[in-house]
């Protein structure tokens, strides 16, 4: 078996045992990227030179025994291109940042490097994380390794596709309304969106600050737990960061759901859900029940209002967060200007894609004089009710279970022309961000088109250990399926 097919923890073990050097791992991965990325377009930047240099440094630290406590030491990682890497292009897959090299590293990058990770490249995404298909990238769409006519999901589509195509052992993505979970579902991998505040956002280029959260995408739950353990932690540079009681997430990798109370919102199985997806979700629930969990259906009223509230809040914050891209301090500036207003308007008009402009306009609208109360304040009230709904549900259940997305991977171009249709695909993921909760998506089946189906589990705030235990237990009932392309059947 090729080392690129190992999980991150398996590779980490081999590196520790001296069976594989860090350099060999990096080289093997670079080779796969060269071989496959022309097709899938997962990477915006491949850091060949830096990674090879870094491999040597990390190897020394491993040999010196400095990284004995770090199971991921030496394992290469791909980073979503909205996470700042000092001196390395960080573009948010946008023309407006196509030349931006941050003067600092994001907090998660410092944490990963302390743990001996080797960053191998920056991966593609929907422009500024706005989208669910990775088709809005300035650098072209990423393709789904399961079927190149399908989208990988988004916005962390490059990250999920890279992990599935074995162009990365694991990746860091970001999730504002489902951007880790949904592409993980579409690409047949596992993605964890942690509780808001558990991972520092310092260095994550903001889309919607109150909803954004960085998390891992990997080939199984164990890898996700290990990565989360490495990146979680209180950060004095992020005022919304929260100190947790317990960071030993890998301790929760236990196959035991006996007595675990699992609730399935009836509204998550309603109209709009693909029947094959529904069947797979119910089968997963059944499996958990058979393993000793208590599974129940319940009513969750607010589901229909989550998407409107989400788009109002996210767009409002985005319109403010993205105003700093104005051609003055960094990034793209229009070559053709006469005065300051030209610099602003032409730079922004030429630098941003349509979906980003659309959300900035929605955001400006809902915050503008006369509409603030009717839209923005209303959305914050809906958010409060959604949070309350979850609080009530978690009084009865330890885990909420449902689909990650209404369908499996969509055809390329299918939703690009109809933004509203695209937004509706976020129905099962956005409320988790509004309520600040942790959620995980893991594979639970393959549909008749041969595309992976993802199941989503949602936990209480800061109860990632319960979530990891439930996901791990379900994962033990089926084996990881690789897309045909990496098995050499293409």
């Amino acid at each position: 078996m090729e080392i690129t097919a190992l999980t991150a923890l398996e590779l980490g073990k081999k590196i520790k045992a001296g069976e594989v050097t860090v350099e060999e791992a990096v080289k093997a991965q670079l080779e796969k990227i060269k071989e496959r990325d022309g097709v899938y377009n997962c990477y915006v930047t491949v850091m060949e030179e830096e990674a090879l240099k870094r491999a040597k440094e990390v190897q020394k630290r491993i040999d010196a025994g400095e990284l004995d406590d770090s199971p991921l030491a030496g394992v290469p990682v791909a980073i979503k291109d909205n996470i700042c890497t000092k001196g390395v292009l960080t573009t948010c897959s946008s023309k407006i940042l196509n030349n931006f090299k941050p003067p600092y590293d994001a907090a998660v990058i410092e944490k990963l490097e302390a743990a001996g990770a080797v960053i191998i490249g920056k991966v593609n995404m929907d422009e500024f994380a706005m989208g669910s298909t990775t088709e809005t990238s300035y650098f072209g769409p990423t393709k789904n390794p399961w079927n190149t006519e399908r989208v990988p999901g988004g916005s962390s589509g490059g990250a999920a596709a890279a992990v599935a195509a074995e162009e990365a052992w694991y990746a860091l993505g970001s999730d504002t309304g489902g951007s880790i979970r949904q592409p993980s579902s579409f690409c047949g991998v596992t993605g964890l969106k942690p509780t808001y505040g558990s991972v520092s956002r310092y260095g994550l280029i903001a889309y919607a600050s109150s909803l954004d959260q960085i998390g891992p995408i990997a080939r199984n739950v164990s890898d996700c737990a290990a990565v989360f353990e490495a990146i979680a932690g209180y950060d004095v540079k992020d005022s919304t960061s929260v100190k947790m009681d317990d960071y030993h997430f890998t301790e929760a990798l236990v196959d035991d759901v006996k007595g675990l109370r699992i609730g399935i919102p009836k509204e998550y199985l309603g109209e709009g859900l693909d029947p094959e997806v529904k069947e797979a979700i119910l089968a997963a629930a059944k499996t958990l029940e058979e393993k000793g969990a208590i599974v129940e259906m319940f009513d969750m009223d607010m589901v229909d209002y989550a998407i409107p509230a989400y788009y109002v809040i996210a767009s409002a914050e985005a319109s403010s967060n993205l105003s700093r891209f104005d051609g003055v301090k960094y990034g793209y500036r229009t070559p053709d200007f006469e005065d300051l207003q030209d610099v602003y308007k032409k730079t922004r008009d030429e630098g941003f894609g349509m979906e980003v402009k659309r959300r900035m306009m929605i955001g400006a609208f809902v915050l503008s004089s006369g509409y603030y109360d009717a839209y923005y304040i209303k959305a914050l009230q809906v958010k409060a009710l959604i949070k309350k709904g979850f609080d009530e549900a978690f009084a009865k259940y330890d885990i909420i279970l449902g689909p990650t997305a209404p369908t499996t991977a969509l055809k390329m171009g299918e939703n690009l022309s109809d933004p509203l249709k695209m937004y509706l695909g976020d129905i099962y993921t956005v409320s988790v961000n509004l309520a600040g909760l942790p959620g995980i998506s893991l594979p639970c089946g393959i549909d008749s088109d041969g595309l992976p189906i993802g199941v989503q589990m949602i936990g209480q705030a800061f109860s990632e250990k319960t979530l990891i235990r439930a996901a791990y237990s379900l994962e033990q009932t089926r084996s990881y399926e690789r897309p045909a392309c990496v098995k050499g059947e293409n």
Binding site: P103, V328, K329, K345, D349, M361, F365, L434
Partner: protein, 95 residues
Amino acid sequence: MAITDETIEYVAALAKLDLTDEEKERAKKDLGNIIGYVDTMNQLDTTGIEPMSHVFAYHNVFREDVVTNGSDRDNILANAPEEKDGGFKVPRTVE
């Protein structure tokens, strides 16, 4: 609600976007659809509900008043599209 030409002009100006006529037409249609959908929130009675700007009830996150940064000008200016005399250069701001 219907989005008028004026509304599009207004939000484009606020967002500092120089939209083409074609883009404006498209934006008008898309925003109309999206805002129309967003209006479904109004079916929900939120009377008396405190708007939730921050999801967790944490407060008082402070730093102490201690200087931690030195000069880092080269790094700060490294990405500037245009710089002059240690500053970011822009067309003359009108007074």
